[in-house]
Symmetry: C2
Subunit: 430 residues, 2 copies
Amino acid sequence: MSTSADADVLVIGGGVIGLSIAWRAAQRGMRVTVADPEPGSGASRAAAGMITPISEAAYAEKELFRLGRESQRRYPAFAAELTGITGEPTGYRQAGTLQVAYDADDLAILGEYQALQESFGIPARRLSARECRREEPMLDPSVRGGLLAADDASVDPRLLTRALLAAAAAAGAGIIRQPAAEILSAGGRAAGARLGDGTRILARWVVLAAGWSSGTIAGLPAGAAPPVRPVKGQILRLRTGPDRPGTASPGTGGPGGGIGGAEGPPGLLARSVRGIVRGSSVYLVPRQSGELVIGATQEELGTDTRVTAGGVWELLRDARTIVPGITELELTEAVAGLRPGTPDNAPVLGPSSLPGLVLATGHFRAGVLLAPVTADVITDYLVTQRLPDLAAAFTPERFARPAGRPPPGARRDSPPPRAGQHSTAGGTRP
Amino acid sequence: MSTSADADVLVIGGGVIGLSIAWRAAQRGMRVTVADPEPGSGASRAAAGMITPISEAAYAEKELFRLGRESQRRYPAFAAELTGITGEPTGYRQAGTLQVAYDADDLAILGEYQALQESFGIPARRLSARECRREEPMLDPSVRGGLLAADDASVDPRLLTRALLAAAAAAGAGIIRQPAAEILSAGGRAAGARLGDGTRILARWVVLAAGWSSGTIAGLPAGAAPPVRPVKGQILRLRTGPDRPGTASPGTGGPGGGIGGAEGPPGLLARSVRGIVRGSSVYLVPRQSGELVIGATQEELGTDTRVTAGGVWELLRDARTIVPGITELELTEAVAGLRPGTPDNAPVLGPSSLPGLVLATGHFRAGVLLAPVTADVITDYLVTQRLPDLAAAFTPERFARPAGRPPPGARRDSPPPRAGQHSTAGGTRP
């Protein structure tokens, strides 16, 4: 360890994961530098911000559910602390998630979700079709039934990123708006990185939190590069108009705004709604601002980040099937991001095979959910050189085992969508 | 007529109509001023640019068809002259229109179109389903048949606007980036206008070419205001990716680019395609740049210009039904514009009841098509005080007749869509 290091920790990547780690590490007294050409512009920018552990757990089962629940538990304090320090909102809102099924087959999938959740020891509240519509009057009458997760919450990832940037800076972390071009090593240990402009940043610890591109940075020894790949996701942002009479939803008699009363956001829905629609999945996340986010496609198309006609069409098709009133809302943005997928769809957390290089990537669709717990476990590791048990199933070494012997964190793979095929948000079938 | 006038002609409105008039009038030696806060930002910006007289003629029948055909005939020289003077392209391209029917009912509508066209003395070329796909291989196999209009053309309205601005300026017209706040009169005659910043522009002639807002400007005597209303239209812009392997269209084996060979644009279609899809209408207009424009909704929602989830969804639904390959294209823009509708869906051309005030508005969905002929007839009127016969059916006075006696230019009204309802491009049923 060189005493001439510029920082104790160099965090490569300034999305919600990298910034959360930078903030927490700086709070623990470490000198932290974050390198990112445009913080918050990657997967974080295209995330809906749902804090729903059960829907992510369908991939990797119990360990991931446990990690997600723990992160969910930490979220209220995490968000409150961020806002307390910075004065910036995060959009944190605990209004629950209502997962609904559209046809009989979808109802069967919902039943599998319920069974999965109960196998984790969490009782799920099953709602009839009528109860669903009582909770969310704008649901289509053909919705067959639902599952209510009252603990679920959401944040606005763009607000969260802004608050994290401010909090990290307030705690003393430096942000350098450059990409990491190469990991530097010295004496068999990561020693920092060369940035895009040629600057070298030396650090005792290098935390690789660059999302899908974490495996592509030069200088990574073969065994140390995390097996992450880009999984494209397209989402839409809709907005309830400011008191426009023309936006009233036909067929309901109700105004587009005001549903949900004083507690809920001024839009069509009181809480996040996940729909299983003819086997594909779509979610609608309302924000206090009146914004409604609809997501997400899941496409394996390399680094393509084009918003496509087909992606937008499928999201609108599925969303309007369960909430027809969205057709009257303004479509303000369509955006695509690349999420870091891994072979077992679970994150990669902890020390790599290159001493000094710590991985915090592969969060796939759960980066926002897992940010608080990821920041805590990685910071604990940086301080103590011991990874908390909570993260034991997610260490990089699980991918280093011989082929044919499944790692403990990878009980079940979800088949990736075919290249060129659009599939709306996966994770439907547990 | 005051000799202290600032201009011979003040044109209010700098869309394709106002700019075309300004250009032609300046070419005839008149001193011309155009007032528009943002030229080309209204209906012109949201237009697809089809030059297809038959599809517009469905509303007002033969007189409008005759006007449209005449404008179409003048287009090649109009576009060539613009480009010759300014060096700016207009995107003019005469590749024809293929109108296709999706189901049996749609085929019956196509037959009505054919009969209408033949009643105008224009033979229509009917194509079988197989012939349609031979002309346009990306058409869905379920397309039932088509009608080929080989004379049809298209322009890029944004390029056209830019070229017109340059040509008008080159001919000596002045552009003032201010709205007209009030029509000024003196001695029972229009004398100019007060602009948004308080400036007064005095002119011998005032040409009102402000699209849907032409009837709302202060200072218009009741009988002189044209009966125009805003009709919202949403369109989409798609783009073939620059040689991205991921954009190949599945199921055809062919690349997204290259269809149409050296003559056609580098996209999915060789020519404009209008689809009648389960009774609603959609069009796809390819450009040489690789852009594909899909339009258009037709909504009566006042001055609302929001892009809505429902509008985008319906356009994508109908377009992908007849050309499934669009799903792979990048969606680069969704935009809404307000077209100037009139009670008989035909334009209002010529002197109003206020001497000195000339109307050139109400072009509804045909502003781009009718720009050359409108510029010529209005300029002829300004020079000779006689309106060419071609425009006789479209004078403002047709709306001043007693109720119950239909004016000659208004043989048939198309029922406007219900408020709050989205309907893709009207004009389907002749």
